[in-house]
Subunit: 141 residues, 2 copies
DNA sequence: AAAAGGGTTGACGTTCACGTAAACTGGTGT
DNA sequence: ACACCAGTTTACGTGAACGTCAACCCTTTT
């Protein structure tokens, strides 16, 4: 039974962050929970939850909140309505291009580290051949 | 004519960063230029340049300097010599695993944004069909 | 000898992304 | 009515990653 609307600390708990973090993202314009007018509490629905997971994903990937905000603003139909769609689309293409470049760079980095890793692994193998352990090395940590 | 040893500001210029940044990385233990004993200046060879590019790559990908330092320390034969190779290798495997996860997450993010992008593109197409521009829309920016 | 052009070491300032604490408010159980 | 809990605002604190500035060498040019 997924409640459609949850409180700030519930949402925070669910996503393993603190309420403060959520409020901060709102303060930065990344979230807009139901909190208008004369309501004393913030309530978060599926839309805000989706945004938050997007934000957290972006953070894990090393994007700044400003960059993430740009992505979210692109992804937000309402906000973009009435804006020049051509520009928006072109801009989105640029961002996607950058994402692809980032992926390639990550793959490159992984390749580098993999190389060194293999060197080490072989070095380890040789050592174990030279002076193997008395008892067959136990596999438990 | 690639000089094997360059000054700090030369290196900074080459990599589009500031000398301060380079000194900071040294202070954090990420770089060890020739600066021992009784030398008044720092000099950077190919080894340090390689490290620096690795650092910058890591930064672009959102890793903290602490994380990057871990990678570098793995990648550094001298420093690891005498250390428990088994642990090093195991640890490296964990890092590589994390890298792979990050790649997957990036691909996921790109997928999400691509979806939204296509929605927008189609929206734009429809609009242009409804009320096409007087003159056939010119394709130049 | 004096000035100029890098390089060096502090040391303090700054931005981002929150952490933390205080003081207040609003509904809820007893 | 009162305690209690969850949420809110306000504000100051913090760690990472540098920026900026001052004051002090060397070395080279004039």
């Amino acid at each position: 039974m997924e409640q459609p609307l949850v409180s700030i600390s519930n949402l925070a708990q669910e996503l393993l962050i603190t309420p403060r973090t959520i409020r901060y993202y709102e303060e930065m314009g990344l979230l807009t929970p139901l909190h208008h007018e004369k309501m004393s509490q913030r309530l978060y629905g599926p839309r805000e939850r989706a945004r938050l997971t997007l934000i957290l994903r972006g953070k894990r990937l090393g994007f700044s909140l400003a960059e993430i905000k740009e992505m979210i603003d692109l992804y937000d139909i309402d906000r973009t309505e009435g804006l020049q769609l051509e520009r928006t689309v072109a801009y989105g293409e640029k961002r996607l291009q950058e994402l692809e470049e980032k992926i390639q760079e990550l793959i490159l980095l992984k390749g580098e580290l993999t190389d060194y890793h293999q060197q080490f692994t072989e070095l380890l193998k040789k050592r174990n051949q030279e002076r193997p352990k008395k008892e067959d090395a136990p596999r438990q940590q």
